[in-house]
Point group: C2
C-alpha cells in the first residue's frame, strides 16, 4: 500500500513509553516510515521511578535516550516535541508551536498522569510521581524535610517536618511508604544532631478498605503487615478530604505534616479528548477489540490511555500490558497493509507483583501466591531483567548490592540487628538533591 505521495505509509507514534516504543520496535521490518514523537528524549522504566524519588537510584539508571535505543532502526525518526492535539479527520497531529505531522496510521500512547479528582489545588502541596522531573522534585522535598526539622527550633513545627503522609495505597504508595520508612529509620541514622530521623512518622493513607486493592485480600493483608514491620503506619477506610501547605485532613481531623505525597490516582493524557470519541470516567479511550478508535480505523490507542476489557476484568495499567498492546498495534497495522483484517487484542496476564521495602514484596500468579523474602527475590529478578540495556541492569544490581552491603556494615557496627538492606533502600553514599 502506498500513500498519496507515493512513499511508504507513514506511521506516527505519540509517546515513547512501553506501548509506543514496543510498537515502534515491532514495526522494524514493516514497509512503513515511522515518526516517534515524545516530549522527553528518553524512555523511562517507570516501575523503578519510586527508587529515583527515594534516592536509591540515579535518574539515568532508569532512563535511556530514545534516539539511542532506535539508532539502528532505519525506518524510524525520533522527534522531540509536545503534541497539542489530534485532528482525526484531517489525519494529522498538531504540535505545540504550530507544526503538524500528517499520518496514514496513528498510535496514540501518551499514557497517564496523576490526577487529583477535581482538587487540582492539592498538586502544589502533594506532588505526584509520573516523570523523572517528578521524581527529582520529590527526592528534594523528602530530603529537605529532614533538613527543615533539624534547623527548626519550635518543637511543634519540628514535629510537623517529621510527619510524612503518602496518599493512596496502590503499588506506588506502598513502595514509597516502605522505602521512606527505611530511610528515616536506617539510612539517615547518625546523620543529624538535633533530631532523630527514626522518630519520623510515615503514614500510608488509603480511602478504600485495604492496600494493594488490585491484589487478592490475603496478599493485601500480608502487605499491610510487612509495611507495619518496616515502621509504616497504615490507615485504611479513611479518605483525605483536604490538603494544604500545613498538612492534611484525615476525615474531620487535621494532621500537621511537612510532606504529603500523592499516589492516589491517575488520569489519562488530555490528548484523548482531542479525538472526539467517547472516553471512560478516567478519560481513557474505549477502543475497539483491535485497539483502534471506533470510527477511525487508522488510529490506535495503547497503554494507559486505552480502556480495554478482557471478559469482565479491565486490562490493568501496568508495563507488561502496555508492551503487549504496543506489539499488537504493530501487528494490526501490518495486517492492514497486507489488506487483512486486524486481529483482536488478547491480554496475557503473567501475574502481578509489588514490592514493599526491605526484603518484602507480594506476588500473585492467580493460583500461586507468595509474599515476603521469596516474593522480593522474584520482584528483584524480574525488574532487573526487564530494565532496558545491559549497562543499566549492571549498575542497578551494583547499586543494590552496595546498599545491601553498606547497610549491613553500618548496622553491625552500631548494634546487632537481624535486618539487612535491600532495593527498598537508599544507597548510603548516593543521596543528593539532584
Amino acid at each position: 500500500m502506498a500513500t498519496a505521495s507515493g512513499k511508504q505509509p507513514h506511521v506516527v507514534v505519540v509517546g515513547g513509553g512501553f506501548a509506543g516504543l514496543w510498537a515502534v520496535r515491532a514495526l522494524a521490518r514493516a514497509p512503513v516510515r515511522i515518526t516517534l514523537v515524545d516530549r522527553c528524549n528518553h524512555h523511562l522504566f517507570q516501575p523503578l521511578l519510586y527508587q529515583v524519588a527515594t534516592a536509591g537510584l540515579s535518574a539515568p539508571d532508569i532512563a535511556a535516550p530514545l534516539r539511542h535505543i532506535l539508532r539502528r532502526q532505519a525506518n524510524v525518526e525520533v522527534r522531540l516535541a509536545a503534541v497539542a492535539g489530534v485532528d482525526a479527520d484531517a489525519k494529522c497531529i498538531r504540535l505545540e508551536g504550530g507544526d503538524a505531522i500528517a499520518f496514514d496510521y496513528l498510535l496514540l500512547a501518551s499514557g497517564a498522569t496523576h490526577a487529583y479528582f477535581g482538587h487540582d489545588e492539592w498538586e502544589a502541596h502533594a506532588p505526584g510521581l509520573k516523570t523523572l522531573d517528578d521524581a527529582l522534585h520529590l527526592r528534594r522535598r523528602l530530603l529537605l524535610a529532614f533538613e527543615h526539622a533539624e534547623a527548626e527550633p519550635d518543637p511543634q513545627r519540628r514535629k510537623a517536618w517529621l510527619e510524612f503522609a503518602i496518599i493512596g495505597g496502590g503499588p506506588t504508595g506502598v513502595e514509597l511508604a516502605g522505602t521512606l520508612a527505611e530511610i528515616a529509620r536506617h539510612t539517615l541514622r547518625r546523620e543529624f544532631r538535633r533530631i532523630d530521623p527514626a522518630q519520623a512518622r510515615v503514614r500510608l493513607v488509603e480511602a478504600g478498605p485495604r492496600v494493594l486493592p488490585s491484589f487478592p485480600e490475603t496478599l493485601s493483608a500480608k502487605a499491610r503487615r510487612q509495611l507495619e514491620r518496616l515502621g509504616v503506619e497504615v490507615v485504611t477506610g479513611t479518605p483525605v478530604t483536604r490538603i494544604t501547605g500545613e498538612g492534611y485532613w484525615l476525615g474531620e481531623q487535621f494532621v500537621p505534616a511537612g510532606t504529603v505525597v500523592w499516589a492516589a490516582g491517575v488520569a489519562a493524557s488530555p490528548l484523548a479528548r482531542s479525538l472526539g470519541v467517547p472516553l471512560d470516567r478516567a478519560g481513557r479511550v474505549r477502543v475497539a477489540p483491535d485497539l483502534s478508535v471506533p470510527g477511525h480505523p487508522d488510529i490506535f490507542v495503547a497503554g494507559d490511555l486505552a480502556a480495554v476489557s478482557q471478559g469482565k476484568r479491565a486490562v490493568p495499567g501496568v508495563a507488561p500490558a502496555a508492551k503487549q498492546m504496543g506489539r499488537h498495534v504493530a501487528k494490526a497495522i501490518a495486517a492492514r497493509l497486507r489488506g487483512a483484517e486486524a486481529p483482536a487484542f488478547r491480554y496475557r496476564d503473567f501475574g502481578n507483583l509489588a514490592t514493599i521495602g526491605r526484603m518484602a514484596a507480594v506476588v500473585d500468579f492467580g493460583t500461586l501466591r507468595f509474599s515476603g523474602l521469596p516474593a522480593w527475590w522474584f520482584w528483584l529478578g524480574a525488574h532487573v531483567f526487564f530494565l532496558i540495556g545491559f549497562r543499566n541492569r549492571l549498575v542497578v544490581l551494583l547499586n543494590w548490592f552496595w546498599a545491601y552491603w553498606s547497610y549491613q556494615r553500618v548496622s553491625q557496627s552500631a548494634k546487632p540487628r537481624r535486618t539487612v538492606t535491600a532495593p527498598g533502600q537508599v544507597a548510603e553514599r548516593y543521596r543528593h538533591f539532584f
Copy 2:
C-alpha cells in the same frame, strides 16, 4: 581554652568543598565544637564536573552528602544554609533568613564562581560550570542544541545550532571542548536522520596566546595538537568581545552560534567582601602566611577564596592546594588552642595535570613532563583514586569501562577505526536531560 560560655571553642567552617571539608576532618580529635555551613547538602568532586555536563557521569557519581561523610565525627554539626556575610568584629556569621552563628574561630572557604569580567549580561547566553546545577543545565543545553538542529528547516539556523563555542582555554575549557567534539563525532552517530552531528563545529576560543596557560609551552602545544586531532577548532590570541542569544563576536567578526559556554574566568565568592579587608583583583583575600586574615587572627581563609603566594608563584586554585590549606588551618587552630604560634602555610606542588579527551592528557611534574596516552592513564588513576568514597570510584570505573567497551563495539560494527572511547566520552546509554 574555653569560651566565655564555658563550652569548648566553637569553630565555624563556611563551605564543604575541598578546603572546608579537609579542615573539618583534620579537626576530628581537636577539643572543639564544629559547625559546617554549606548551601548544598553535598561535597562535590569538582575536577569531574565537566563529565556531568557532558553526560559521561551522573550527578551522584561525583557528589557525596556532607552529613553522610561526617556522620561518625561527633564534634561536627552540618547546617544547610546560605551565608549572607561575616561580622568580623562581633565574631559571628549572618545567615540568609536572619539567623546568626557566633564563632571563636572561623574558616571561610566559600570558593569561587564563574565571572564575566563586568559583562554579567553574558551569563544568560553563555552559562558557566561551577555547581551541579550548572552542569545539569549545561548538559540540557548541549543535547537540546542537536535536537533544535534536527527540527530546524532553515539551513542557516540549522548551521548555527551546530556551532558550539567554548570561551576560555584553561583546563575546564579544554576538557569541555575535547569531550563535546567526541560526542558530536562519535556518540551521537546514527542517532539523527536530518543532520550529521559530526558536522558540528566545536571551537575553543582563548584570548591569550595559548591553551592551558598554567602549563609549560611545550605541553600547551601538545594539548592543542591533541584537541585538533579530536576535531576541535582552536582559536588563540583573539578575545570574545560580545555574546548575545544569537552568537558571539570574535574580535570584529560575528559568529552565529546556538551554544556558547563560558569557561574563561572565576571570581572569588562575594562573602570575602564582608570581611572588610584588602582583596586582590579577583576578589580573593590576601591572607597572612598562616592563612589568617590580617587584623583578625581568629578568621582564616582557604581554598579558591585565598590569595596565597609562595615565593614568586601564586598557589593555584586546584583541589590539592585547597586540601592542603584546609589541613593547615586545622593545624593552625590546634596550635592556637595550645597557646602556640600558628605555623606558616607551605604549598607542596605535586604537579599539574589536565585531560583533553579520548586518551589525551598532559602531565607536568616540573622536570618530568609527558602527554598523550601515558598522561591520560595517569590522569585516570589519580582522579579515580581521589574520588571520595569507594562506591563512587567503582561506579565511575564501571561507567568508563562501559563507555570504552560500547564505543569500540559501535565503531567496529560500523567501519574499522583505530580510535577507542575513554573518559572524555559519553557512556552511550547514559545520556539524558536530567
